[in-house]
Amino acid sequence: MEVDVRQGLSQLAVRLGGEGAAVADAQRLSGGASMETWAFALTGPGGREDLILRRRSAPFDEETARSVSLRTEAALIQATAANGAKVPIVRHVCDDADGLGEAYVMRRVAGETLGKKIVSDPRFDAIRPALARQCGEALVPIHRTALPAGVSLKTADAAADLDRYEEVYRATGAQRPVLELAFQYLRKRIPEPVEPVLLHGDFRNGNIMFDPETGVAAVLDWELAHLGDPAEDMGWICTNSWRFGRPDRPVGGFGDYADLLAGYAAAGGKPIELSRVRFWQMLGSLRWGVMCLTMYLSWASGVEKSVERPMIGRRVSETEADLVVLLEQGL
């Protein structure tokens, strides 16, 4: 069913801001394939409030989906906020009366999320050297958050992830020797299991709001939250696909491994070895390669018709190039 988001926001304005409240400057932001993000302002007697609507635009089945429901996402943001994590303030979780489908509203956080800007814009030159350490610090309260009541999440571990990605890869019918070798290589080097913790699950440059003055402002996009190895969140932000043209700076294209690890330990996180992060980083490249294949398939099967999808399919080769170099270096 097609939802008129602008119409829905107008109704929501009264519910959030009271009689006389209206919506201004509603605009869909680009990026996000199954999820829509809208920026809008609430105006009224109480002044102006800048807000973000996050809503699902594709059908969702919580049983089979890898991602969590937006209701769960909002609950996790609230729980980690209460534990001291840098996250947005959740303003409203939508229900049937709002007519917006599955959605929630949060306060807009000022700053920049575009990875390319974070790694190359001169506005970030002064703060950039501090960001890797801050990212390590930012993960600690997230990893320490207990699941809120009524929320259950899937638990991931390296062996199960490899099984799942390989199953997906086989189902695509693609034959890519580099991916085959990466599966074999990683299977032989799975680190010792650790006690699972709450993971953001998509902790990378692009999903973090950075302020040019102060650095990490908020960790966004919680749809892939799950339980697992804390090194997974660290490996993902080190995966080269999220370094935006600066492979020489392994953490998000802005910093070094040592700073990420030191920040995590200094904030009270249980120290993590670099080799463990590198394992998850390499698994991250493999994961992204398989995800690119599935995005192509969602177009080939007719589920998605955007030109974005087949072009993401051509990003498999970036992960192959990265994986070849990592295989040469060895874990």
């Binding site: 680009s30 990026g31 034959q175 290589y185 080269n240 600066r246 192959e320």
Partner: protein, 117 residues
């Protein structure tokens, strides 16, 4: 093949046209138009550089596998033997062959991508 224009020139002309109209589009469509222009550029590179890349890949795979064959057959055999554990990172020449294939494909798909160092 007809050369006036060549197929890759048709692709290039479409990419240029997309770039011309892009400023007049709303943000979402401007983003998709850039993706579409990139798709045309990939098509152009595959037309011009693809045959040589496939020939290099075929030679590289034949070297590792020890016999000739066409690209699809060699690629399938390479995948099967890696999966079976017969070929590993220790196998002489395997990583070198995979590097040639991966870097050539990257040059077609995303020449501006800076790979892991």
């Amino acid at each position: 093949m007809i050369t006036h224009p060549k197929t890759e020139e048709l692709a290039e002309s479409v990419a240029l046209w997309i770039e011309q109209i892009r400023p007049s589009l709303d943000p979402r469509n401007a983003f998709l138009a850039r993706v579409a222009a990139n798709a045309m550029a990939t098509i152009r590179r595959e037309l011009t550089d693809g045959p040589a890349a496939e020939a290099r890949a075929t030679t590289a795979m034949a070297g590792v596998l020890g016999h000739d064959g066409d690209f699809a057959a060699l690629n399938a055999e390479l995948c099967d033997r890696i999966r079976a554990g017969e070929l590993t990172v220790e196998t002489p020449g395997l990583l070198a062959a995979l590097r040639v294939m991966a870097m050539d494909q990257l040059a077609i798909d995303q020449p501006s991508y800076k790979h892991e160092v």
